[in-house]
Amino acid sequence: MAKKILLGLVAVLLLMQLVPANRPPVKQDNPADLLANNSVPEAVAQILRGACYDCHSNETRYPWYAYVAPVKWLVADHVEEGREHLNFSDWQAMDIGDQLEALDELAEEVEEGEMPLQGYPLVHPEARLSEEQRQLLIDWAGQFADQLLE
């Protein structure tokens, strides 16, 4: 009996692999990218790349489990939704209102601990932000917003 259940489970897992995940494509060349076009302090750029860019840019680094169901569907969903909300690869193409709103939102989400997304830091050590790193990011967002108005 137990053997049958196990076998059934394995069969389902194998069948799952046939359902595609539709991972949003990776693009390395992004002429409108935030970091490519603005002088962002290195420490901040490092946080953005390490803790945000997987979902909020076209430069997603898909891990091996992004190719294995059922996790692949979750990853694909998160990346799609993340880019839809804010895509740093398109930064220069956003209008000033959207840029300032994004920076305000960024500070708010990081302050409230909503971002990086729950669970993500568990499997991405570089996204485990210290209190100092959070503050650095929040302060930068405020300064950069003011700078955009100069």
């Binding site: 000033i96 209102g97 959207d98 300032l100 709103e101 920076l103 305000d104 939102e105 405020g142 917003a145 003011d146 955009l148 108005l149």
Partner: protein, 131 residues
Amino acid sequence: MKSKTTLFALLAGLFLLAAFTLPEINSSVPEEGEFEIPENINAIFEKSCFGCHNSESDYQKAKDKMMIDKLGDLKKSKLVAKLNKIGKEVSEGEMPPEKFVAKYPDRVPTDAERQALVDWAKNAIKTLTKK
């Protein structure tokens, strides 16, 4: 004699007080370019939003996000961010929230009022971000 001196000192004091406080009263008159919400727009906010997004509201969650009557106190970059958000939430029909719409149908902005809010926010952003 003594009372005359006292009176004089008092008058002089009052005069000085007036001299120092008057300019302050003057400076509280909005300067040109300062952020002000036009009356027709404010009327829509009052009807549809102030119940939650006003400094008098007791809905803390909504207040924490934004107090429309205190927008003018925000620094410019933050003000633009909030105006942008207002435009988005109102045009996408996210605000006022569903529950409010169901409970107070007569306080929901009409399509024309929504459009007026969106246009106003857009123009205010344009003015504020003009270089």
